[in-house]
Amino acid sequence: MSLPKPVMRGLLGKRLRFHLPIAFTLSIISAIAFKYAVTEPRKQAYADFYKQYDSVKEFNAMREAGIFESVRPTGE
């Protein structure tokens, strides 16, 4: 019948001391993971695309395909 007295104080503090470091670590890890899995490859993809990009050639290809209304293909 003599149970120990349950803990009455400091419950939120104990929970925060346990969960806050975990929360911060996980957030930082997920941010770093996103940076190196998504944004860095994307920046590299854009850089590689524009290294070899000839805008005039692309424009002429699009013009021949007939998608523009201001410039028709060279045949017409």
Binding site: R42, A45, F49, E58, M62, G66, I67
Partner: protein
């Protein structure tokens, strides 16, 4: 049409969930029936709820003579009560212990079964609708016109870096 289905199912689920919660969390026991099963809501009620450790009134209001003599004995030092007497006094004040209250029930099977039944009925309704209600799909859904749309998107160089046109090999004229 997919939005409509989700909305209908969502509202059905919400009403089911509300019904389930209201039934399971408020298991009321009032022994003060007067005429029929009408509860006098103006008087304190007894609730078995996890967040109400001391309900507004004791469970048993009308005590027998034996109960009343036990209540008198309760007014003295509690060390003199036997274990059975203490349990009897507990049961006079409360209908269920916390473990009994927290025991899981099999109600979830009913809820999940009901959800699936209503999903099935909704599926049948949507099927009937697609046959008898919806108008003809526009001609732009035909495979030839869809192919023309894709060709036009590739000609326009839609998302040429990471998206749509990036997957098309312009030299070879085929998907990468």
């Amino acid at each position: 049409m997919l939005h409509l289905t989700a909305g209908r199912v969502g509202s059905r689920l919400a009403s089911r969930a509300a019904a389930a919660f209201s039934v399971s969390s408020a298991r009321m026991a009032s022994t003060s029936h007067a005429v029929s099963d009408v509860v006098d809501m103006s008087k304190p009620l007894y609730w078995d709820r996890r967040d109400i450790p001391l309900p507004d009134r004791a469970f048993k209001e009308s005590l027998t003579a034996a109960d009343q003599s036990l209540k008198q004995k309760e007014k003295g030092p509690w060390g003199q009560l036997t274990k059975e007497e203490k349990i009897a006094l507990y049961r006079m004040s409360f209908r269920q212990t916390y473990p009994e209250m927290n025991d899981p029930s099999a109600e979830w099977k009913t809820v999940v079964g009901g959800i699936f039944i209503f999903l099935g009925i909704t599926g049948l309704v949507v099927l009937w609708q697609s046959i008898y209600v919806y108008p003809e799909t526009p001609p732009t859904f035909d495979p030839e016109l869809q192919a023309k749309q894709i060709k036009r998107m590739l000609d326009m160089r839609i998302n040429p870096i990471e998206g749509f046109s990036a997957n098309w090999d312009y030299e070879k004229g085929q998907w990468k």
